[in-house]
Symmetry: C2
Subunit: 191 residues, 2 copies
């Protein structure tokens, strides 16, 4: 028998992989059990319903996202680079073989009409990201309207890259972000 904590981790990461790859409703709990190697009884002891498992997956994704962004931020030197760091993270992500778009957006489209808890979790993650970008813009001394514009580019890049499969989408988004930042800080700062 395996430790309770590792069992939980295995279930969540397996469900994450399967749900993300095939959609939530297309993956049965039996498939999660088989691939995770954890009995149904134990899965349901850890997560009272599939909905709870989906929420745990979303929390897992949030941690991964935050970690990835933090890593990209650590590599940035100037406040301007810190505003652009998220696009570097996207560029890495888009190149991964199993990239299939933003899980929050995918799950929202599939489940938000039926599960208000999923809808709420997705909304929280997106507003949290918006606050994060707003903080970066504020620290760089940029105007308030810049942050939502950068967020739009990041969101659009994720869906476009998912559908077209073109990793260069991240570079387009980054170039657009550089232009917006340059314009927001006045013509003088562009040099």
């Amino acid at each position: 028998m395996i430790d309770q904590e590792t069992a939980r981790d295995q279930v969540v990461s397996t469900a994450d992989r399967l749900f993300y790859a095939h959609g939530v409703q297309a993956v049965g709990m039996d498939a999660v059990r088989t691939e995770a190697g954890v009995s149904l009884k134990r899965i349901y002891a850890l997560f009272p319903s599939k909905d709870d498992l989906v929420l745990a997956v979303l929390r897992h994704r949030t941690e991964q996202w935050d970690t990835g962004v933090a890593r990209a931020l650590a590599a940035a030197r100037t406040p301007r680079d810190r505003m652009l760091a998220v696009f570097d993270f996207l560029a890495e992500w888009f190149r991964e073989d199993d990239f299939r778009g933003c899980a929050f957006i995918n799950f929202f489209g599939e489940l938000a009409g039926g599960s208000s808890r999923v809808a709420e979790a997705v909304r929280e993650q997106k507003t949290s990201f918006q606050r994060h970008v707003a903080d970066l813009v504020r620290e760089a001394g940029g105007p308030g309207y810049l942050a939502p514009q950068l967020v739009l580019l990041a969101e659009g890049a994720q869906t476009t890259a998912a559908i077209t499969g073109d990793p260069a989408t991240a570079a387009h988004a980054r170039a657009a972000a550089e232009t917006l930042i340059g314009a927001a800080f006045g013509p003088a700062s562009r040099f």
Copy 2:
């Protein structure tokens, strides 16, 4: 008995409404039959499988999208306004009560892992839109890199507006697009 053509239209528009509101897999064919008032036998005579019905809904959505964009384009006077027209269309759309994001993105996230035909249809619509924007940019005399950037803003606005429910997202996207256009046409054209 109703005409074959009207029966088909009723089925498609009903399926469109239900699939878009609740997700494809959450809506059974029985629900489509009940709300459309067309018997299952007839539905399956018109569409051999649910997958075919989904594809018909996507074609229907494409027509609606093209019509809406064309209407916004007709109201634009200058080549610059024509590049921005899509954001005016988005602003209208986001204010509708039943707005729930881009159906193509939602369906893609839900079904692309299982139905390659749906994935292909979504890809076609997105590349068609990209070509359209590229044409508008070319007609306005803008540089080639501008079109994908404007597309990213439009895509990001759709998903962000869907999740946050804030119609002002369209205005943010439009403002960013104006900045990108201004920068792409050189500082002189900004006046």
